[in-house]
C-alpha cells in the first residue's frame, strides 16, 4: 500500500517537474550561435543519390536513416551543447553537419553522441558512432585502431591559466606546477614524454571542463591542450581565465572513421577538399572559431 502511494507520488512530482520547464538560454551565454551580427553560418545542400561503393559504414548509416556522429559537448567554439536547448554548435559540429549533408543525409536528422577523449577510439571500433568529429588529433598510434580523414584544421598545444597567474608564460615554466589534461589525449602524453612537469604533478581527469573547474578552484595551476579548445574556455570566462604563451606542437584534427573503410575515407576527404576549395570551410571558420578575430590557414588533406 505504502509503495503504491510512493510510486504515485513520485510520478506526480515527476510530471510536475517536467511540466514547468522553461526554454531558451540564460543571459550571457557564451555559445556562439552565429546570430549576433557576425558572420552567418552557411547552409549545406543535402546531396542526392549518394552512394559509397564498398563502404560498410555508409551502409550502416543508410540503415539507421542517417549518421550517428561522435562529438564533444563541452568545448565552446568547437563542439558545444547548449545545456538549455540541447543544440550543438561549433566548428567541429559544422564540419560534422557538412559531411552528413554531402553524404546525402539531412544534417537535422543527424544523431549526436557526446564521447570524451578517452573513449573515442573505442566508440568508433565498437560501431557506437559512424564517424567522430571532435578535436581529434591524427597520429600513428591511433591509426592502428581507426583511420582519419582530413586534416580539416590544425591547432597547437597551449596553456590555460588563471587570470591573475603571471608565473606561467610558456611550457618551460611548468616544472613543479600542477598541470591538468584529459586521460587518453595527446597533450597529456606530450607532457609526460617531454617531462614538462613531474609525474606526480600531472592531473588526469575525464573531460576538459573538469580540468577547467579544478583550475578555477585553484586545485591545478594550468590546463594544457589545443589552443583552439582553450581559447573557447577563456572566451567564456574572460575575467577568470587566460591563454598564455606560444603553442608548442601541431595538432592536425581529423575525422575519425572505422579502420578498414577506405571508400568512406576517400569520400570524406573529397567532401573536405571541396569545402576548402569553394569557400564553405572559410565561412564555417568565420562563423565559429574566427569570431575571436584570429585567422587560420586551411590545412592540406593527407590522403593515405
Amino acid at each position: 500500500m505504502k509503495i503504491r502511494t510512493l510510486v504515485v507520488g513520485l510520478m506526480v512530482s515527476g510530471l510536475a517537474l517536467t511540466a514547468c520547464g522553461k526554454e531558451g538560454s540564460p543571459t550571457g551565454s557564451g555559445s556562439g550561435d552565429g546570430g549576433d551580427g557576425g558572420a552567418q553560418l552557411p547552409t549545406y545542400e543535402v546531396a542526392q543519390d549518394v552512394s559509397v561503393e564498398g563502404s560498410p559504414t555508409f551502409a550502416k548509416m543508410q540503415q539507421s536513416g542517417g549518421p550517428i556522429v561522435g562529438v564533444k559537448e563541452d568545448q565552446p567554439g568547437l563542439g558545444y551543447k547548449d545545456p538549455t536547448t540541447g543544440e550543438y554548435s561549433g566548428f567541429d559540429i559544422e564540419i560534422a553537419r557538412l559531411v552528413s549533408a554531402k553524404l546525402g543525409f539531412d544534417p537535422e536528422k543527424m544523431q549526436y553522441k557526446a564521447v570524451p577523449s578517452a573513449g573515442r577510439e573505442q566508440a568508433i571500433v565498437n560501431g557506437d558512432v559512424h564517424y567522430y568529429v571532435g578535436t581529434y588529433t591524427i597520429n600513428d598510434k591511433r591509426k592502428e585502431q581507426i583511420s582519419f580523414a582530413g586534416p580539416y584544421f590544425v591547432a597547437g598545444q597551449g596553456l590555460l591559466v588563471a587570470k591573475d597567474n603571471n608565473d606561467i608564460q610558456g611550457k618551460e615554466d611548468l616544472q613543479g606546477k600542477k598541470v591538468c589534461s584529459v586521460s587518453g589525449s595527446t597533450p597529456i602524453q606530450r607532457v609526460r614524454e617531454e617531462n614538462l612537469t613531474q609525474d606526480s604533478n600531472i592531473v588526469e581527469l575525464q573531460t576538459y571542463s573538469q580540468c577547467v573547474t579544478q583550475l578555477t578552484q585553484g586545485q591545478v595551476d594550468a590546463v594544457t591542450t589545443d589552443d583552439a579548445i582553450l581559447k573557447g574556455y577563456a572566451a567564456q570566462e574572460p575575467d577568470k581565465l587566460k591563454v598564455v604563451g606560444d603553442t608548442f606542437s601541431d595538432e592536425p584534427y581529423g575525422i575519425g572513421l572505422p579502420k578498414n573503410d577506405k571508400a568512406l575515407r576517400d569520400k570524406v576527404n573529397d567532401i573536405l577538399q571541396e569545402a576548402m576549395d569553394d569557400g564553405t570551410w572559410q565561412k564555417i571558420y568565420d562563423a565559429t572559431l574566427g569570431k575571436s578575430g584570429a585567422s587560420a590557414e586551411m590545412p592540406t588533406i593527407d590522403r593515405y
Binding site: 515527476g14 555559445s31 559537448e73 563541452d74 538549455t84 573513449g119 573505442q122 575525464q206 573538469q210 573547474t213
Partner: protein
C-alpha cells in the same frame, strides 16, 4: 540487544545523557553549519545556482539519464538473479563436473573489481554500445555474489528438512524445488535486496565508459560555466534521487518480508534472527 546494554536512565544519568546529546548534537550542527556556510560563501546556494533545473531541456535530460540508470539496473538485476541461481545450483551439485567450474567462476568474478570488468568488456572485447558492457559487468559481478547468497541460504536450513524430504522418497530436484528453495528464499530476501541496492549504485560506474547515466549527467551539468558550475546543487539533487531509489528498494524488501512473516503458520523467526541472517552475507559494495 541494545536495550539491555544500559539501564533505564535515572535522574543523574538523564542529565548526563542530555549533556552528551547537547554536546554531540551541537558538534554535528556546527559541522553541518560550517559546510553549508562555506558553500554559501562560495556562492553555491545563490538563487541563480539553481537556475539550471528550471530549463525543460535539462529536466528532460535528467529524466532520460535516470531512465538509462534504471534500464541498466533492471537488465542487470534480472540477469544477475538468473546467473546467481544457475551458479548456486552448480555449486550445490553432486557432480564435480558442474561443481568445480561453477566454484572457480564464482570465486573469480567475486574477486575482480567491477571497474576492471567493465573496462575489459568495453575496451578489451569491444562489445559495442556501453550499455552492454555495463550490464554484463553488473551481471557477472553481482550474479556471483548472489550465487553465494543463494548457496549459503540453502545450506543454512536445518538438515532435518532435506533428510525428511528424502525420507518420503523425493528426488534431489524435488527436495530442492519443493522443500529447500521456498524456505530459504524467505531468509535470503534481505540479503538479495541489499545486493540489488549495491547493483543499483554500481550502475554509476557506467560513466567511466561514456554510458549516459545519472552520474555522467551530473558531471556534465556541474561543469557548465553558463550556470556558474552549480556543482553542489547538482550533487544534492542527484544524491537525493539515488538515496530515494535505494530506500524505495529497501522499503520493498521490508514490505515483502512483512508479508512473508504474516503468511507463516508458526512464526519461529523473530526480526532479530532475520537481521543476523543478513549479517552472514553482508553485501559487497
Amino acid at each position: 540487544m541494545s536495550s539491555v546494554l544500559f539501564d533505564v536512565p535515572g535522574p543523574k544519568a538523564r542529565v548526563r545523557h542530555n549533556v552528551y546529546a547537547v554536546l554531540g548534537g551541537s558538534a554535528i550542527v556546527a559541522l553541518l553549519a560550517f559546510i553549508v556556510f562555506q558553500f554559501a560563501k562560495a556562492g553555491q546556494f545563490d538563487a541563480d545556482m539553481w537556475e539550471w533545473i528550471q530549463y525543460e531541456q535539462v529536466q528532460l535530460q535528467l529524466v532520460a539519464a535516470l531512465g538509462n540508470t534504471l534500464r541498466a539496473f533492471a537488465a542487470g538485476a534480472v540477469l544477475a538473479l538468473l546467473f546467481g541461481a544457475i551458479f548456486a545450483a552448480g555449486r550445490l551439485s553432486d557432480h564435480a563436473i558442474f561443481r568445480v567450474p561453477s566454484t572457480i567462476i564464482v570465486e573469480f568474478f567475486r574477486a575482480v573489481p567491477l571497474v576492471v570488468m567493465i573496462f575489459f568488456f568495453h575496451y578489451g572485447l569491444s562489445l559495442g554500445a556501453p550499455f552492454y558492457s555495463v550490464v554484463i559487468g553488473l551481471t557477472l559481478y553481482n550474479g556471483s555474489v548472489l550465487a553465494e547468497v543463494f548457496r549459503a541460504g540453502i545450506l543454512s536450513l536445518p538438515k532435518g528438512q532435506s533428510e525428511a524430504a528424502y525420507a518420503v522418497g523425493m528426488r534431489k530436484s524435488q527436495v530442492m524445488r519443493l522443500v529447500l528453495l521456498p524456505q530459504s528464499l524467505r531468509a535470503m530476501l534481505p540479503a538479495i535486496i541489499s545486493q540489488l541496492v549495491v547493483l543499483l549504485k554500481d550502475t554509476a560506474l557506467g560513466f567511466l565508459i561514456t554510458y549516459e547515466e545519472l552520474i555522467r549527467e551530473a558531471r556534465y551539468l556541474g561543469g557548465i560555466a553558463e550556470f556558474g558550475r552549480p556543482f553542489i546543487p547538482v550533487a544534492i539533487v542527484v544524491g537525493v534521487v539515488y538515496i530515494a531509489m535505494c530506500l524505495a528498494l529497501t522499503a520493498l524488501a521490508k514490505y515483502l518480508e512483512g508479508r512473508n512473516r504474516r503468511n507463516r503458520k508458526a512464526p519461529t523467526e523473530t526480526p532479530k534472527d532475520a537481521d543476523e541472517k543478513v549479517l552472514t552475507h553482508e553485501p559487497m559494495g
